[in-house]
Chain length 329, copies 2
């Protein structure tokens, strides 16, 4: 394992310290709690928080700042943050107008954020929750955990954060986030596995001439292992699966072509070229496009494509200014 | 080779097309010339252009936009753009106030940009050139090519672009760029080699338990091959070499902790934590810090550290607004 780290057990705290050190005027880091929060605390708005396992940088802490999140809570690599950590974040950002939790759909996250919400309610802090489940590689079903939350989470941070910044009520911020979630679909492909710092070697393998369609951001099994394909074919598969699941025809959409950590920007731009061609052919208008590493899987190579259908409200919220380490509009 | 590409010979044009497709309102792509230029052409300012081999994305085209470059010219992967391409960029952005070329110090770039400057002068376009040579891994000598230009180039784009945006003369923009160049030093480390799309396998090897200090961004030999080290040790080596070369003590500096393409943000933040600790110990104040993939080597893993000493003028230019795909202030 070749990583620029110190002790593998310290990667989460040290990465967050290093992020805070790059933005000392804007971010606060709470040791042990692994919380990054906005330095300029707001006193008159709904607080929006999110979090989950580490290893998806810049998600979640990279989206803390004006117009997006008020705080992000990190668990250990690929594991949910504990309720006491989430409680620390709530305490730091709650200012009487309520707290919206943006949760990715994993059972550990659902449980721990849920527990923290219950505890906060006991302290008379009003908490609402939304659950992102955008991964079309997983069937959308009522029973069981169902769809995973992946890169589309970034759009939910943006929409909810912008709505909160406008001074909307907790119910309104939650409604905007839910509208975004219902309009978002994501599909990914993994080329090579990731290496957890504490493990030191890949937890699974993908053959040298194969790729895995639909692999999750923690290496969860995908829907198909296939021979290496061209960027054009990969775009057709990813966008095809998304369009099979949701009818975006005639819509304006936000597009996210997201790298999984180890994939160079050159490849993401080539993939974007192919994605945009398909959207144009299908009569889907790309209103705004994002290309880069937004929701990663440590050093996994591969990419995902996310679409979010827009209406006037979502366009306004998407375009609203934000100022965070990983996104500035 | 697992890359999200189509034909390896098309990676440069397709990546630039994909970048332009993400910013259709802001960027223009000129086919065959491999030039990305600003859509909103300025008519009253010095034009700042840069370029070089592809494979360093987001450098150079990712820094085209308000407050930075007016155009970027790409060669093939790791090879200099031809004079006709550079001429196309000059033609697109020249508006009578002169053109500044920001050139990285490689013999091919020096020759081709120089030829293009001569040709432009014959068309009565005033052209000035600055040469970035920030890599302290290479001795700074009068004879031969001398120091390579690497990640510090991004700071030169920022400073020259901001000065030009203020309406300064060609001589003033050149002077600001030269001040920046003289104040910038960079040092890098490579962990794993990169794979050129047209080659399909690494052009060199780094042993599984070794890293190479001072490797160039095209895989040029470094100054030392050594066993894997901790982030703390790597920071000490990189910053140590920089401080041996230039006296930053008591200064305010801009810091760039740059990833080489395949290194996750988590590791760059950990490295930044260690870099900031050293700067603090040495009494060097980090005025503004950038962490991310700014000047890459395709999918190489590793990182570089850049420092730029600031004075009041450079601080103002660094802080000036810019709006490009890869940097927004």
């Amino acid at each position: 394992m070749k990583k620029i780290i110190n002790n593998p057990t310290d990667v989460v705290s040290e990465a967050l310290m290093g992020m805070q050190a790059a933005y000392p005027d804007k971010l606060v880091y709470t040791p042990k709690m692994e919380v990054i929060s906005r330095k300029e605390k707001k006193t008159d708005k709904v607080a929006v928080i999110s979090g989950g396992g580490a290893g998806h940088e810049p998600l979640h802490a990279g989206f803390v700042g004006k117009g997006m999140l008020d705080a992000a809570i990190s668990g250990n690599v690929f594991s949910s943050p504990s309720p006491d950590r989430i409680g620390s974040a709530i305490e730091q950002v709650s200012c009487g107008k309520g707290v919206l939790m943006v949760i990715k759909n994993y059972s550990g996250d659902i449980m721990n954020f849920g527990l923290s919400a219950d505890l906060a309610e006991m302290d008379d802090i009003e908490v609402a929750q939304v659950v992102v489940k955008d991964d079309v590689a997983v069937p959308d079903r009522e029973e069981g955990t169902g769809r995973r939350g992946i890169a589309g989470t970034v759009f939910v941070h943006k929409i909810a954060g912008a709505k909160a910044e406008q001074g909307a009520s907790l119910a309104e911020v939650k409604a905007a986030a839910e509208k975004a979630i219902s309009n978002i679909r994501t599909m990914g492909v993994a080329m090579t596995p990731c290496i957890l710092p504490a493990v030191g070697k890949p937890g699974f393998q993908i053959a040298d001439d194969e790729i895995e369609i639909g692999m999750g951001i923690h290496g969860e099994k995908g829907i198909e292992t296939t021979k290496i394909k061209t960027a054009k074919e990969i775009a057709e598969i990813l966008v095809g699966r998304i369009l099979d699941d949701y009818d975006y025809s005639g819509s304006e959409v936000a597009v996210l072509v997201n790298g999984l950590g180890g994939t160079p920007l050159m490849e993401l731009y080539i993939l974007n070229m192919e994605v945009q061609k398909i959207l144009e052919e299908k009569g889907i208008k790309a209103y705004r496009t994002f290309v880069g590493n937004y929701c990663t899987s440590i050093d996994m190579t591969g990419a995902s494509v996310t679409l979010m259908k827009l209406d006037d409200e979502l366009k306004e919220l998407l375009d609203a200014p934000c100022d965070t380490p990983a996104l500035k509009i």
